[in-house]
Symmetry: none
Subunit: 196 residues, 4 copies
DNA sequence: TATGAATGAGAATTCATTCAT
DNA sequence: CATGAATGAATTCTCATTCAT
């Protein structure tokens, strides 16, 4: 994982993201990236040794954003439900503001033959999951969250439904208000998992 | 939508499915299909007028399998929870026995530039959702399912978590027992949505 | 050269002509012809042994129409100028009513590698030319046509300008009135070649 | 329209011309061009973005040659008849020395589905026509050319017969002496259009 | 850092034609 | 007469990558 990106590298990653946003993963070609930036295709190889490395760095970049979002929320001094609400709404806000991020996260099947890439997506999801689990455990301790289901299962259900929401938003061509949809989802999830 | 497939057409669709299973959507090329069958590439065009038509027919085929599974379950004379359990477990069984089906259903992003294909996937998901909603309504009537959440939302949460399960299974290279995982998911979902 | 065409053969030739009219020579494929008629591609080979034979027959058919038009005009008991006028206007009328004929006659370059086809077009043009020459000779005898230019050269100039007219009409997408344009061309040509 | 061609681009255009000369428009394929030059097919796409662009550039190139020929002749301080003679003979000389040029100019029907290409050919012909008209007007002023026919019609007759000459030369496989044929045509035309 | 030129492997599709039934 | 299935050669074009300058 790259530690610090050069200006050109950042530019490449940002352009890659933009291209994905405009035309999906298929639009992400070396040619498109470089002509968008205004450099030669070969120049790109000065900054990344392969297209896979571009994608890999892109995923690192995305991972940092998402994971740090989760960690920041987790550090807040608010109730577990407040945290869950903020985690979901914040995540959806990130996607709403950067649709390409959603596309990248959802295109997992594409990376199948690139174990490295798959592993990175997997890691992001695991990071999210473990944060959720921590918060749910907290909620169980305070008595707010039901104890008859394992925290992992609860986290799983939350992530599944958030993911499906994003999925449908993406397939719809980003045509509905993701944050609005998120609000009602959050309410549903809270109702489902709160102690009775 | 094709009504009845010729032998060769079925063979092509089956081969396409097999190829997807082995190498993902990227492995689905005209050349691969035809050389797997043992005919010339051009021969394939006697049976389908384009690659898109192959994919489209494949999705029709898949749709019929999935939707009829849901409908069959819905016709059973069992309790709503029984139906939900059978719907999920049956669906996962289909995927467990035919991993490529899972790949096709999950690769939605890929078809972005082919509205027709996307529409077919969408229709399959809608079909599943409406069946779920009917069953949940039934469960609310019998008093088994909680009434403080709309049926649509419940269906959404169920589908999201089922989908995520399949997703992770696919990403893991089909390495864990999907049906086993499904069983605990079903238990979780039932616990979540039953009336208290 | 085929003596008498079967019904199916005529149908094929007519369809070929229609296709050329609609989409140019490139639209003339075995597949297009047969699917337009509603038979299998292979069925076409019962009636013509190759695509070249289709074209060849088509040119025969066209040749008969054009040459007989010229001969008929030549048989009329009218002045040479009357004949020239009728030859040109009649020819343009045929094209105006059957634009594909014009396309076929003008697409000579296409048949370059098919000597047979080239020869047929050449023959049609020679037939026209010799009729023109005969009429011009007549006109010289009656004193109506200038004698300071060989009949062949006059015929050549006439045919060149008629051909260019048709050419431009074809390139314009048949957008102007060919017969109208023909009238002024005829007047010009008569003025040019009459005795002073 | 390209302003300045790179060496490779010129090489490609020249090769394209050569191929057309040897085998007609049908011989102009990306594969033929590239293998003739000795590069990979894909390499060609570094220099032209499509085959249409190759043809388009080729027509530009041809257009410049022809139009500048006409303009140069028009600038000469000679009589109108001298100019007409030089325009025709010079044009035929160009074709005689570069038979492929003739093929390209005459293959107009082929470009029917490529409006751009057709438009270029059209423009070349219009350029030629307007120069002819100017010269004919001049000739009318000096009294050398007959005034009973519009200059446009005269230009049309000239161009039609020149074109037919080139056409027959091309169809004959470039077998006769184009310049010789041109000389007698010029004489004919002059006789036809001079004042009596 | 950057470029221009090139490459090889593929990809989807078209077309005229053949042949057994 | 007609068909369905198949073929092989072409064709245009794309893509990630390399390398000398």
């Amino acid at each position: 994982m790259k530690d610090k990106l050069s200006n050109r590298q950042s530019e490449i990653i940002n352009t890659a993201i933009k291209l994905i946003g405009e035309g999906g993963i298929q639009a992400l070609t070396i040619k498109n990236i470089s002509s968008e930036i205004g450099i030669a295709e070969s120049a790109l190889y000065r900054h990344f040794k392969s297209k896979t490395e571009v994608l890999s760095t892109l995923l690192d970049f995305l991972g940092v954003i998402i994971i740090s979002h989760y960690e920041n929320v987790n550090k807040l001094k608010i109730s577990p439900f407040g945290k869950i609400e903020k985690m979901i709404s914040g995540q959806l806000k990130i996607f709403a503001e950067n649709p390409p991020y959603a596309i990248v996260i959802l295109s997992d099947g594409l990376y199948k033959n690139e174990k490295l890439l798959y592993a990175k997506i997997f890691k992001i999801m695991e990071g999210a999951k473990s944060t959720f689990i921590k918060i749910i455990d907290e909620g169980k301790n305070t008595g707010e969250i039901r104890k008859d289901i394992t925290s992992e299962q609860i986290a799983f259900v939350i992530m599944g439904s958030v993911r499906l929401t994003v999925n449908q938003w993406s397939l719809s061509g980003f045509s509905f208000d993701l944050k609005e949809k998120g609000k009602s989802l959050i309410k549903t999830l809270e109702t489902l998992i709160q102690s009775s």
